[in-house]
Homo-oligomer: 216 residues x 2
DNA sequence: AACGTAAACGGACTTTACCCCGCTTAGTAT
DNA sequence: ATACTAAGCGGGGTAAAGTCCGTTTACGTT
């Protein structure tokens, strides 16, 4: 009886040609995105540009949103790297509050830079992309909150709410137009800066001891 | 010179037949939704069920998401009524903190009850439904925050973040499955209760004086 | 009451996401 | 090497969203 190299449960690795095609499709998608915008990135067009069948595209990514999710995951790898092992305060080594603040600001920046992709990665009739960013974001926030000594708070829920406060403004509420406003007069800071400062303020408030929650 | 009954800028009221059809379509949509779920509510099917042309459906609602937005707006009217002139603490008459807490809990409940519609009202490639719920939610939160004396905070941004913290968990992150969990053992409260308590805790922390924000 | 016009209507047409299934091929066991 | 098989591939087919434009109709004007 030959022993399996990978424990059962892992659905066996992707075949070499499949992996190659995935990479090729992602590269092609990125090129089309850069060249002609998200609207032009249709499944047919992508398949044709890549010289592959449409069925292949769907097999690899499941849906149109899936492609954007894969692109986003890809972009996020570098970002995660910074968070997990980059220099403080984003990486390890700084106090948790500072890391939380830095993380939020970095993520806002990340989402802003990738907002077109991130928006299209939303599915609409599905909770949230499976392997995608958010779970990780939430986990990281959750972990930092755990180091914060907040008394009897429900940290899982708080992390969820903070993740939402971080992502939703850029994903759901702020129009692209608003985000592109290049500071009309002088005193008004770019909306992005405001959101970023807002995050800092929010975390500061939450982390500040205070009398603690009301109910038993 | 006859004077216009409505000031220019208001793009003239909807024609009578149009208004009638809108109502009829909404009613039909609701019936289909109740009878066969959101998936069965296609534009063609709706048009046929209502005995109208497909073009009419699109003219009235713009898109599929638009129908769900209209349904949601409709449902929200009653809710708004409670907020604007119902009994405290949801309605006027209670301290702002209490109203904020009550508002959040009421909205969570509202979103939970209407989650199928709310989810489908999201567009994906568009910031947020124009006349729909969220702006109002944000305005209300903003207004209550204004009565709270939070020092030099950016209340607009804070309101945005709180709106996100309130809506996004139900709209984006929690799976329908999670939301339907009917309390498996005994000690675990329904996820909904946790979110609701989490909101209370969040508001309490924010409203608690504390030393104030860090940066000038 | 007759008229003019902007709005509304209908439904064929186009586009696009997504499904299906017979054929091909990489990877493995003999 | 050869054979076996699960994974991958291709591209035609389906259904549903969204567009267009010629026709009809509400409603203000004369």
């Amino acid at each position: 009886m030959t022993e399996p190299l990978v424990s059962i449960g892992a659905p066996r690795a992707e075949r070499a040609d499949a992996a190659r095609n995935r990479q090729h499709l992602l590269a092609t998608a990125r090129a089309m995105l850069a060249g002609q915008g998200a609207a032009a990135l249709t499944m047919d067009a992508l398949a044709e540009q890549a010289g592959l069948g449409k069925g292949t595209v769907f097999r690899r990514f499941g849906s149109r949103a899936g492609i954007f999710q894969a692109l986003l995951d890809d972009d996020e790898r570098a970002f995660q790297e910074q968070v997990l092992s980059g220099p403080p305060p984003l990486g390890p080594g700084a106090p948790a509050v500072d890391r939380l603040i830095a993380y939020g600001q970095a993520r806002i920046d990340f989402l802003l830079r990738n907002r077109e992709i991130a928006r299209h990665a939303l599915d609409g009739s599905q909770p949230i992309p499976a392997g995608s960013s958010s779970p990780l974001s939430r986990l990281h926030i959750r972990s930092l909150l755990g180091q914060l000594d907040l008394g009897p708070a429900d940290l899982d829920v708080l992390a969820l709410q903070l993740t939402a406060a971080l992502d939703a403004p850029l994903l759901l509420y702020l129009s692209t137009e608003t985000l592109n406003t290049p500071a009309p007069g002088r005193p008004a800071p770019a909306p992005l800066d405001r959101v970023s400062r807002g995050w800092q303020d929010l975390i500061t408030r939450i982390a500040t001891p205070g009398p603690g929650p009301a109910r038993p």
